[in-house]
């Protein structure tokens, strides 16, 4: 009995000591995390104030160089505040609104610097500066409690826990939403882009579930005997579609078809893949056959990539007027390396079909455009997004720099105004 009591006492003391040790470790860890969050919060609040000043200062100058310096500061500070804000735990909605507002402000500064349209900036920014000041004040009021936490996370957690009503944060969120809409309304191109991705242009008649299933069997005869489960997209989906899941032997997969017209959105199969038996050329030929089967006769090959089970191939619609490739109207295929079976097709972009405005290309003298040690190896005409949701006719150049190191670059240049839209380092 006495021995038992001794053992029990030792066990209790041991357990107590262990739990104190664990508690200390937890507290220390919590304090470290809290210190980091507080640091990010302070950093974001201070930089927010700096950003407001930078916007205000940008209204002082007419001189291009002085103006560009301030625009650079606005762009840099908006990125830094974004980064700090994205590293602190606040409600998802507040975070989203903040990141969006600051991103739009930074983009506007960058765009102004590029286009030189200082007048538009100076007309818009006085209001943005005032709004930023008021946002900064509301943010300070909303986050003041984060500093009253006695070194533990409880207060912070209570603040971000959305089950508890929090009027100060609700205010920040509401103000951010209002200012976002007023200060940075969607441009015409953005609004067109939004309509495009929501498939607003589809005017075909609605197909039934049975018709959708028939269409799937015609497009992909290999799964015609599969067991299918068809569900409709949720009522709140931006565009209605049929979600068709199937199972046939070793194959499991899905097809999404639009309800309007039964257009293919995407198809994907999972099945075991054996060793590669087909050559790259055979795979490409098979892919071209599949495209015909899917009714995509207006596309051309862009590139292919092999991985350990499958090949991914990209094709793009060819502009009927000038034969340039429209990258935004791309279609991707996935083919198994063993038999060349079609494992996937993605036509989401292809069915959105871009409206291309007429553009007149101007030739470029590559010898004066690039440095002396750059050699232009390939040039092709493409249409691509200029970062402002506009499809531009471009020269896509594969250029090699330095004869010895042979560094390869893909450079995309607007064919009309010769602005460089993209530079990619290729290996």
């Amino acid at each position: 009995m006495r021995t038992m009591l001794v053992i029990l006492t030792v066990a209790v003391i041991g357990l107590g000591a262990y739990s104190i040790h664990m508690h200390k470790e937890n507290t220390s860890l919590q304090r470290t995390v809290l210190a980091q969050y507080t640091n990010n919060l302070t950093d974001a609040s201070e930089k927010l104030s700096g950003l407001q000043q930078a916007v205000s200062q940008s209204l002082l100058f007419q001189d291009d160089q002085a103006m560009n310096n301030e625009l650079d500061s606005v762009w840099r500070l908006s990125s830094e505040v974004r980064s700090s804000l994205s590293n602190i735990p606040v409600g998802q909605e507040v975070s989203n609104q903040w990141l969006s507002y600051l991103g739009r402000l930074g983009d506007e500064a960058k765009r102004t610097e590029k286009t030189g349209d200082y007048q538009a900036w100076q007309e818009k920014m006085p209001q943005v500066s005032t709004n930023l000041q008021s946002l900064s004040d509301e943010w300070t009021a909303a986050t003041v409690d984060f500093y009253k936490n006695n070194g533990n996370m409880d207060v912070w957690v209570q603040q971000v826990d959305n089950k508890k009503p929090n009027t100060t944060f609700d205010n920040v969120q509401k103000t951010l939403k209002d200012y976002s809409e007023k200060d940075f309304p969607l441009t015409l191109s953005e609004s067109d882009w939004q309509k495009k991705i929501e498939l607003k242009a589809l005017q075909d008649s609605v197909i039934t579930e049975k018709e959708a299933l028939e269409k799937v069997k015609n497009l992909f005869p290999i799964i015609k005997d599969a067991t299918f489960t068809v569900t409709k997209s949720s009522d709140t989906a931006p565009y209605p579609f049929y979600h068709i899941q199937f199972h046939q032997g070793i194959r499991l997969g899905y097809v999404d078809l639009t309800e309007k017209g039964g257009h293919l959105l995407s198809y994907l199969v999972e099945r075991p893949v054996d060793e590669a038996r087909l050559s790259q050329d055979e795979i490409k030929k098979k892919a071209e056959e599949y495209l015909k089967q899917l009714g995509m006769n207006d596309v051309a090959f862009v590139e292919s990539r092999e991985n350990h089970q499958a090949w991914h191939l990209t094709f793009a619609r060819v502009h009927p007027g000038d034969n340039a490739l429209i990258y935004a109207d791309g279609v991707q295929l996935k083919l198994a390396k063993d038999t060349g079976e079609l494992l996937g097709a993605n036509a989401m972009e292809y069915i959105q079909e871009e409206t291309i405005k007429p553009q007149t290309p101007r030739p470029i003298d590559w010898k004066t455009f690039f440095d002396n040690d750059v050699k232009v190896e390939e040039v092709r005409k493409i249409y691509t997004d200029n970062g402002q949701f506009e499809q531009r006719l471009c020269y896509e150049v594969i250029a090699v720099r330095d004869k010895n190191t042979q560094e390869t670059f893909r450079v995309v240049i607007d064919a009309e105004n010769h602005n460089v839209l993209k530079v990619e380092y290729l290996t």
Binding site: R82, S86, I88, P89, G91, Q92, E93, S95, N96, L99, S100, G103, R104, D107, V160, N162, K163, I197, T231, S233, S234, T236, A237, P238, Y239, F241, Q245, L252, G253, Y254, D256, S266, L268, E270, A276, S279, Q280, D281, E303, S304, R305, E306, N307, H308, Q309, W311, H312, G330, Q332, K334, G344, N346, M348, T405, Q406, T408, E424, Y425, L426, T427
Partner: protein
């Protein structure tokens, strides 16, 4: 005399067969060009490097560096210059270079930094990896030959690895479609102005992913999760442009229920 001739013939025979992997049958019969990946490309890069044409990393990915090196080789050896490794090019390469497959594969599997130039002892061309392997298990996105995955140029190996970790931590019990959809949500966030503009920033944004909070993101992802990430990076989006998803059985946030829903895959509801 007959005996001497016999011994000589025998020695000649042995010496012919003893030349290490220096013949046309070393490569497979497949014609390879830009976009290809795997053992044949490893051999192609190694042989081109042996001859001094290829100066980049031997990684089994037939990109532009391999392409220019091959074209230069073809030009120098009087072959048609097309950047495609067909039968004649492979034969010329095999006839003019050595390829120690075992050694090259061993370096790749160990994640060592190495080169394979001819005329220089191999032991002087390797820097041993002490960090647990770059091409081996810990890299997270390599197959058992040490070659990595090929993804569109805007993504990196690190991106594949990070998203695969998130997919495995968040959705390993889900159908393949659901795993691709989770990867696609991360990529959709990258395009959205409402989220951080790096993959790491998106995944580690506080409160964004359960797998980060409960530590499951640190589990080693399987090949299926990596394949799902590669499909998403190549454009597949079974979520149909979703920015969020949640498990209705376990979700505690009221806010997430207010998001417009798109579709359900397995246990996850995807929403915009």
């Amino acid at each position: 005399m007959r005996l001497v001739s016999l011994i000589f013939a025998l020695m000649l025979g042995i010496s012919i067969f003893a030349i290490p992997q220096n013949d046309a049958i070393a490569f497979t019969e497949q014609q390879i060009s830009r976009g290809a990946y795997g053992d044949d490309v490893i051999e192609l890069q190694a042989r081109l490097q042996y001859l001094g044409f290829y100066k980049s990393k031997i990684d089994g990915k037939f990109g532009y560096n391999t392409y220019w090196a091959l074209r230069n080789f073809q030009e120098k050896y009087g072959l048609p210059v097309d950047g495609v490794a067909g039968a004649n090019t492979k034969k010329a390469l095999s006839g003019n270079s050595d390829y120690d497959e075992g050694w090259v594969k061993a370096q790749l599997n160990a994640g060592n930094q190495f080169t394979y130039y001819g005329g220089k002892p191999l032991e002087q061309q390797v820097k041993t990896n002490t960090g647990g392997g770059g091409g081996g298990k810990s890299s997270g996105s390599s197959n058992n030959n040490g070659t990595k995955t090929q993804v569109p140029p805007k993504y990196t190996e690190k991106d594949v690895q990070l998203i695969a970790n998130a997919v495995y931590g968040e959705a390993r019990g889900e159908p393949y479609e659901g795993q691709v959809a989770v990867a696609a949500v991360i990529l959709n966030r990258l395009e959205s102005p409402e989220f951080p503009n790096t993959i790491s920033g998106i995944i580690f944004q506080p409160l964004a992913f359960t797998a980060v909070a409960d530590g499951q993101i640190w589990l080693e992802p399987n090949e299926r999760a990596k394949e799902a990430v590669i499909d998403a990076m190549n454009g597949w989006d079974p979520s149909e442009n979703a920015l969020y998803y949640f498990n209705p059985k376990t979700a505690t946030s009221k806010w997430i229920w207010s998001r417009p829903q798109i579709k359900q895959i397995g246990e996850h509801i995807f929403c915009s």
